[in-house]
């Protein structure tokens, strides 16, 4: 038994001891009891991102995922409504679907062929005489979660009493709207995803999307592989306009490319990147210059990472989705985005940009994963030595709208996430 486990038995530290304004306790990364509480009090209680509307475009379209350990199906029914159903037969508990995604007319359990409609209703079961007078089919649908969406982002909750999604997202909604402007007038669609696991706690990844400080160091090899213009674009370390806002409820946004925060705004001063010359040239054959500029300026995505507590980030040109598998293992999905109905050459360019950085063979993700695993391993070292999240406390200010604001390399976003963590973990 490790020393921190012994410590817990002797006397569990209070949440106030575990999470302070400028530091967090290392047990947050490796205490299995805290992890179980996180599932119950965070992942099974608040709004959790489960998909994008373009992934379930037509009736019958579905994708499966998990919230914590609990398997769910996100599916559009015949009336066009999106349902999030527990992927568990009401008879003996088998999953009713094991495909990642697809189109179905319903879900049939492989064990005894109980079959469910797209809205979860139990439609039929074989040899029903054994259930006469003891089973009412209307009482045994697949369990459904609360579902709501904003800006095409679908969220679900196991909690019937969860606050309205619009309240939960609060100040983040403005940034979600800005993010979607990279569609350049087309709706955003997903274009595939990279999935990888790393041996570390989910919060290490939650921190990372709002960690501007690591970028030029961990991603030195990525930066030296891109052209000078892209490298210049991502050089925000000393740019005073590169700021992080805490947005409340654990959400935060880190602005890295201030001139790309609102992609609709174009004063014409920005030179289109030379690396995209082939795209510019091709689009210019059929499009007005302003629309060509809009599309090409949007290829790198929005100029910020928006971190939504607890499991999704809208990160420049992609979604980062985290899924805790255990206290010490986390799955990450990096979902590529494109313009639905937009020009193929630009959507392909977006795929190539995604492949360059993301995924287990990308030029960025493996180095992130290495750093995160090192955090997990190092954090075992000593329970008395906290994790510091104090960077930028000396220059954090309150904006007129009440957001806490500091530099993009500061840890304001992490402090916001941990404040929400503490608030949710304090609830009974």
């Amino acid at each position: 038994m490790s020393s921190h486990e012994l410590g817990l038995i002797a006397k569990s530290p209070s949440l106030d001891q575990l999470v302070q304004d400028d530091r967090v306790d290392v047990s947050l990364y490796h205490d299995p009891q805290l992890y179980e509480q996180e599932l119950e009090k965070i992942f099974y209680r608040t709004w959790v991102w489960v998909g994008h509307e373009s992934e379930v475009r037509n009736p019958g379209d579905f994708r499966t995922t998990t919230i914590g350990r609990r398997p769910v199906i996100v599916v559009r029914d015949k009336k066009g409504a999106i349902n999030v159903l527990e992927n568990r037969c009401r008879h003996r508990g088998a999953t009713v679907c094991e495909k990642h995604k697809g189109n179905a007319t319903g879900f049939t359990c492989p064990y005894h062929s109980w079959s469910y409609a797209l809205d979860g209703k139990l439609r039929a079961l074989p040899y029903p005489d054994g259930y006469e007078d003891i089973l009412d089919k209307s009482e045994l649908p697949l369990n459904s979660l609360r579902v709501d969406s904003y800006a095409g982002m679908i969220f679900a909750s196991f909690n019937d009493e969860v606050e309205p999604l619009t309240d939960f997202l609060g100040g983040a909604k403005h940034w979600m709207d800005l993010f979607m402007k990279q569609g350049a007038g087309y709706p955003i669609k997903t274009q595939g995803e990279h999935k990888f696991t790393f041996n570390g706690n989910w919060k290490i990844q939650l921190e990372n999307t709002t960690d501007g400080y690591h970028f030029p160091i961990v991603h030195k090899s990525f930066m030296s592989s891109v052209d000078e213009e892209t490298s210049e674009m991502l050089s925000f370390m000393t740019d005073p306009q590169a700021v992080t806002h805490a947005l409340g409820n654990g959400h935060s946004v880190m602005v890295m490319v201030p001139e790309h925060v609102d992609l609709e705004f174009d004063d014409g001063s920005e030179q289109l990147q030379e690396r995209f010359a082939h795209v510019t040239e091709e689009l210019s054959k059929t499009m007005e210059p302003a629309q060509v500029r809009r599309i090409v300026r949007s290829l790198h995505g929005a100029g910020f990472n928006l971190n939504l507590f607890p499991n999704v980030a809208m990160s420049m040109s992609f979604f980062r989705v985290l899924n805790p598998l255990s206290v010490k293992q986390t799955e990450i999905r990096h979902v590529a985005l494109g313009m639905d109905g937009g020009p193929e050459i630009a959507n392909r360019e977006r795929l190539r940009i995604h492949e360059h950085f993301q995924g287990p063979f990308g030029f960025g993700s493996p180095d992130d994963a290495e750093a995160w695993e090192r955090v997990q391993r190092g954090a075992e070292a000593g329970p008395q030595v906290p994790i510091l999240v104090n960077r930028g406390l000396n220059r954090e200010v309150l904006a007129d709208n009440g957001d806490k604001v500091s530099h993009a390399t500061d840890e304001t976003g992490m402090r916001e996430a941990y404040a929400m963590w503490k608030r949710m973990m304090s609830n009974d």
């Binding site: 595939g192 590529a336 795929l351 190539r352 492949e355 030029f363 493996p366």
Partner: protein, 166 residues
């Protein structure tokens, strides 16, 4: 029976391809990326797709979709010492077998094979199984890779980022 005799019993294009593929496998296990780069033709394409069925790699999201430019950048990244994951990459050992000659026309040979690879890092062995397709041109300057496609059997699931090439 020596290896030489075994290969001699096969038809010549397949035997030459196998020799090439084994040589390539050894270079990758040894992380001799400079020598590996020399195996490629200028317009060669290296692909690790995600979609198990696609042949239209350009329109799909892949793990790797490298032309000569991206391949050179990748090799630079793996060799320069600035990438934490490459500096501390897993050690690998791979065997390639179950060869099947798909096509042999002129000096171009296309061969599929099964690759079983183990990666080892920090006490953990990670297996990675894949079907390989090599298209090799046996020209004047020696054999050159025109295309290599690596179809991992678990490509649509989560992988670990381990800092080596398949």
């Amino acid at each position: 029976m020596t290896e030489h005799n075994t290969l001699a019993a096969l038809n010549a294009p397949l035997a030459k391809a196998i020799e090439f593929i084994w040589h390539e496998a050894a270079l990758l296990d040894n992380k001799d990326y400079a020598a590996w780069a020399q195996l490629w033709s200028e317009d060669g394409v290296y692909v690790i797709p995600i979609d198990p069925d696609t042949r239209d790699f350009a329109s799909s999201l892949n793990y790797v979709y490298d032309d000569a430019r991206m391949r050179a950048l990748r090799i630079e990244r793996l060799s320069a010492g600035h990438s934490p994951s490459a500096v501390d990459a897993a050690r690998t050992l791979r065997t390639v077998s179950r060869f099947n000659l798909l096509e042999s026309s002129g000096d171009v040979v296309e061969v599929t094979s099964a690759q079983l690879l183990f990666a080892y890092k920090r006490g953990v062995h990670t297996p990675m199984a894949a079907e390989l397709t090599h298209r090799i041109r046996f020209g004047q300057g020696g054999p050159r890779l025109e295309q290599k496609v690596v179809r991992l059997i678990n490509s649509t699931d989560s992988l670990s980022a381990l800092g080596f090439l398949l």
